[in-house]
């Protein structure tokens, strides 16, 4: 009796140690994110078909800005929702709208047929009324609300109305699939780049996978700005040489 009970404790102990060991192994293995980045993006242009143009993204900021931030995201990815509400608005305000950076958002719907594809269209439909970024933030912040709604395009209409837009136009635009093709093309571009996670950022071409806070993104932008300042000649007259 006592021996069978201690055998039972032994089994529990073995499972606990094995399980904890496995988890520790995974944690340590994933501690080195740079290794992932270099292997995943090395085979960029293996696709035989032509690369989808970067114009499928939605851009904000000056074209000649020294830092280019690209984001690939899905409207129902929680991590994308996090950055869209906590990181991006401040980055847009502090860096993009001041001319230091240009931001391009690319849709990357992870699951075909998911309402995230419709949300991607809704943001672009709002963009037709010059309100892409406002709608983008609302959609990303309210994923749970519209993600579970039976009639998503009606939810999109309500959001648009609340933003002071023509909500009916947005609803019609989503239902008629005006921007369906460009959303699909944007997703295709992400696949051509070999991306399999959202959000994926490229900061001046340097890939960063996963959600990040404002501080980290701001530090990366500052780093790029500092690099460019260092490589530029000091005097204005030096430009001609």
């Amino acid at each position: 009796m006592a021996s069978s009970q201690s055998k039972f404790y032994g089994i529990l102990g073995v499972i606990l140690i094995a399980g904890a060991g496995l988890i520790a192994f995974v944690v340590i293995k994933n501690r080195n994110p740079d290794a992932i980045a270099t292997t995943e993006y090395s085979s960029l242009t293996t696709s035989s078909s032509e690369m989808v143009s970067g114009e499928v993204g939605v851009a904000r900021g000056q074209e000649d800005a020294p830092v280019l931030i690209e984001e690939y995201a899905d409207y129902l990815c929680g991590a994308c929702g996090m950055v869209a509400t906590l990181t991006i608005p401040q980055v847009l305000r502090d860096y993009v709208d001041t001319g230091a950076a240009r931001f391009i958002f690319y849709d990357y719907p992870l699951n075909p047929g998911s309402p995230a594809e419709l949300a991607a269209q809704a943001a672009r439909c709002a963009g037709d009324q010059n309100a892409f970024w406002a709608m983008h933030k609302v959609l990303m912040g309210r994923q749970r609300e519209w993600g579970t709604a039976r009639n998503v395009s009606r939810m999109f209409r309500e959001y648009a109305d609340a933003l002071g837009l023509d909500g009916t136009a947005v609803e019609d635009c989503v239902e008629s699939g005006v921007h369906d093709a460009v959303v699909q093309a944007s997703g295709e571009r992400a696949r051509q780049l070999g991306l399999n996670q959202t959000p994926t950022f490229f900061i001046n071409g340097q890939p960063v996978v996963g959600a990040m806070g404002y501080d980290r993104m701001a530090a990366m932008i500052e780093e790029e700005l500092a690099k460019q300042q260092a490589s530029q000649p000091s005097g204005e007259g030096d430009e001609d040489r």
Binding site: F8, L16, I23, D74, N111, Q143, R144, N196
Partner: protein
Amino acid sequence: MNRRRAIAILALLGALDAAYLLLAKLGITGPVACSISRGCEMVNMSEYSVFLGFPVSAIGLAGYLAILLLAIAGTLPRWVLERWPDLLLTLLSGIALVFTLYLTYAELFVLHAICQWCVASQVIVIAIFVLAVVGLRRAR
């Protein structure tokens, strides 16, 4: 007796599973992101991964630990013949089952994404519930 031991082992496996998901949720096991190849990030980072302000994996971990302790208590010689461990185990695993079904619904019908570690947890919960109910009926 052996049924309670089986429940304890299952609960320990479930607790490890939940601990892994919780660490992933907190970004310790890698980047916080959603992915196509692995539905887990999609599910674990979705709005459904938080319930009443707590990550569901944390709730699961707490639940599994409670079931684990209860099941171990039920195997101790002083309580092995008692009926209350079966009652409490049925109650706890019943609540866990309802919660699990809600999350499965979200995975299948809302997120359209499947997380293999979440499915493992769902199977464990169902197994624990069945064992607990059988134990309860036998104890009568």
